[in-house]
Amino acid sequence: MVANESTKRNILSLLVDNKPGVLSRVAGFFSGRGFNIDSLCVSETTDPLVSRITLVAMGDMAILEQIKKQLNKLINVIKVMDFTDTEFVQRETALIKVRAKVNQRAEILRMVDIFRAKVVDVASEYYTIEITGDEGKLSAFLRLLKPLGIKEIARTGVVALAREKK
């Protein structure tokens, strides 16, 4: 999607009934309007009957406003929170399989240390690194690793919660 002034990265957090088909209803509102979902994370909350969906989508604010209202209207959606203009904490975890030639291993480990990441698997030619952080941290880390040769990445997608008042 082409970014313009009214286009923004939106983080929505939904509390929904933990039932089959609910994710499809939610996703349908985006696909039905030609919106791409950039990341999506679903899991049970402390209440096993309720799931939290954290969803990141780029899009025109006016249309997203409409989507938010429509989501609120879904029978299985309990609550819709939009973190776009509020204080919130967000985290994402990535597993990165990076090429680790003998002469580059020290460099990789240094970066892992600086970013407080972790090497979770070591093979003869590859390290698999686990890193958690916000968007900025993950993309900075990936940028630094890229020249070394990234073989595969798996990312969880953003999870987020609103900050409580101090």
Binding site: G21, S24, R25, G28, G32, K69, Q70, N72, K73, I75
Partner: protein, 544 residues
């Protein structure tokens, strides 16, 4: 609920086996689309929930147009579909379709029942959701093994869903703001939508309009929500609205929209719509508000409750001089009315508008009118004066050809004593003509008025006006003899080819106690005017 509209099949045969032992009536239609439209018509005429029962696979897919139509028009319908046994779901089993997936975007909600213990709760929820808040169709998919198993029925007094709580009561803080705008306005217009009819707000609306001395227009769905014989009535708004209604909406300084959703057929070009007006929007569905037009005062709430509250506040207000303040506005409206009435000239051939005017006279304005889609629908809306709610039944949002006849059957079941007339086009009527057998079987004396122009008239009109008269594929080059067709079904067929025969045929048709097709052979290339070309401001109309 006293009647189910349905069509049996392998997946529902168990239900049918039990159904015939109950008091619930069943109308066996001839096509499942007809079942949903009939349930829709039943719901609109009675204010109750319409119910359908169909089998899995093709039975279920045949309901989709009906469901989508009910969805667009916010009509409470519950559709029960049979499904293959749970053990076979996902196996491409015989007559399996994922109807819950297919109808997800065109139902208010839908369910797949996987355990018989959930059945009674689910059915309760389905009815509750269908009729509450902004109403809509709800589908419940019933696998064969669930239907066949036994469970003890639990009575459920009240349905509560934590994630679904429609707002009926308007925010009290908003109401005085509306009164203030009314006081400041010299050129108000009230726009009534389908919500007025769905919430039963027409009495409250009449009181409100009279008190604030505001003219009233309505959307297609809102017709009958305000009496067409009332001096404050402007006629319908929109693409084929009256000249004065569209002009008044363009020039007003306050627009009070009640239960309307600002469809593109109503607003024309949105950035010019009611440009100089402050808009008050009352609607039970928050997603309708500020969707298409900017709104000064949004009020989420039930139309009837909100209008009654406003009326209560207004009772305490002295608006005595309003008649005087509004005089120039009414004078202007009279001028619009005088220059551009809904004009047509009755010549040698029967004009379709003339048929509708005569229909109004012959039925004394008391019939329930359903329509098909196209020119016939617009002429019915323009020339039949609807004084009562729940009497104009049309597929507004979806514009689904084939709606009117089965909807008329549903309306006739809901109101056995009333005269029910389907105003039809020669093309549309053929989309669900098979329901004539249903009408004959159950003695439903529905009348069909075919405005037979030999064309898919509305599309031909677009071709005439915007496509250099290239009538590509819109002529009905072969058509049945509608009189013989009626007779073949065991119904009555009548025909008029000359203007002087119109009244006689209508009188004869209306007094026949059987289903009747009246074939009016009308002027072939008549157009519906006024017309606002799609995407133009509604004040820029093509006129006769």
């Amino acid at each position: 609920m006293d009647t189910i509209f349905g069509y049996p099949g392998g997946a529902t045969v168990d239900i049918y086996n039990e159904l015939v032992k109950t008091e619930i009536g069943h109308i066996t239609v001839r096509h499942e689309q007809g079942a949903v439209h009939a349930a829709d018509g039943y719901a609109r005429a009675s204010g109750k929930v319409g119910v359908c029962l169909v089998t899995s696979g093709p039975g279920a897919t045949n309901t989709v147009s009906g469901i989508a139509s009910a969805f667009m028009d916010s009509i409470p319908v519950v559709v029960l579909t049979g499904q293959v046994p749970t053990s076979l779901i996902g196996n491409d089993a015989f007559q399996e379709v994922d109807i819950v997936g297919i109808t997800r975007p065109c139902t208010k909600h839908n369910y797949l029942v996987k355990d018989v213990r959930e059945l009674s709760q689910t059915v309760r929820e389905a009815f509750f959701i269908a009729r509450s808040g902004r109403p809509g169709p709800v589908l419940v998919d019933l696998p064969k093994d669930v239907i066949q198993s036994r469970a003890t029925y639990k009575t459920i007094k009240e349905v509560r869903l934590r994630s679904y709580n429609p707002t009926y009561e308007p925010n009290a803080k908003q109401l005085p703001k509306v009164v203030k705008l009314i006081r400041e306005s010299t050129r108000p217009v009230i726009l009534a939508g389908g919500g007025v009819i769905l919430s039963g707000a027409s009495d409250a609306l009449r009181k409100f309009a009279k008190k604030i001395q505001s003219p009233v227009t309505a959307t297609l769905m809102g017709l009958g929500g305000f009496p067409a014989s009332h001096p404050l009535w402007l006629g319908m708004i929109g693409m084929h609205g009256t000249y004065r209604a569209n002009m008044a909406s363009g020039e007003c300084d306050l627009l009070i929209a009640i239960g309307a959703r600002f469809d593109d057929r109503v607003t024309g070009r949105t950035d010019t719509f009611a440009r100089g007006a402050k808009i008050v929007h009352i609607d039970i569905d928050p997603t309708s508000i500020r969707k298409n037009v900017p709104v000064a005062i949004p009020i989420v709430g039930d139309c009837k409750i909100t209008l009654e509250k406003l009326n209560k506040i207004l009772e305490q207000e002295d608006l005595g001089d309003f008649k005087k303040i509004r005089r120039p506005w009414f004078r202007q409206i009279e001028k619009w009315k005088a220059t551009q009435p809904l004009a047509y000239h009755q010549e040698d051939m029967i004009k379709p508008q003339f048929v509708i005017e005569k229909l109004y006279e012959v039925t004394k304005g008391k019939a329930i009118i359903t329509t098909e889609v196209g020119q016939n629908q617009m002429w019915a809306a323009q020339f039949y004066k609807f004084d009562y709610p729940n009497c104009f039944i049309t597929s507004g949002g979806l514009g689904c050809m084939g709606f009117g006849f089965p909807a008329a059957l549903g309306a006739q079941i809901a109101c056995p004593g009333k005269l029910v007339v389907d105003v039809a086009g020669d093309a549309s009527i053929q989309m669900n003509i098979q329901e004539m057998a249903t009408a004959v079987q159950y003695n439903l004396p529905v009348k069909i008025v075919v405005l037979n122009n030999g064309y898919m008239g509305m599309v031909r009109q677009w071709q005439q006006l915007f496509y250099e008269k290239r009538y590509a594929c819109t002529e009905m080059e072969a058509a049945p003899d509608f009189v013989k067709l009626a007779e073949a079904y065991g119904a009555v067929g009548l025909r008029a080819t000359r203007p002087e025969e119109v009244e006689q045929v209508l009188n004869k048709g209306m007094s026949t106690k059987k289903p009747v097709i009246m074939d009016f052979v009308v002027e072939r290339e008549e157009c519906v005017y006024p017309m606002v070309p799609a995407g133009s401001p509604i004040t820029e109309m093509l006129l006769v």
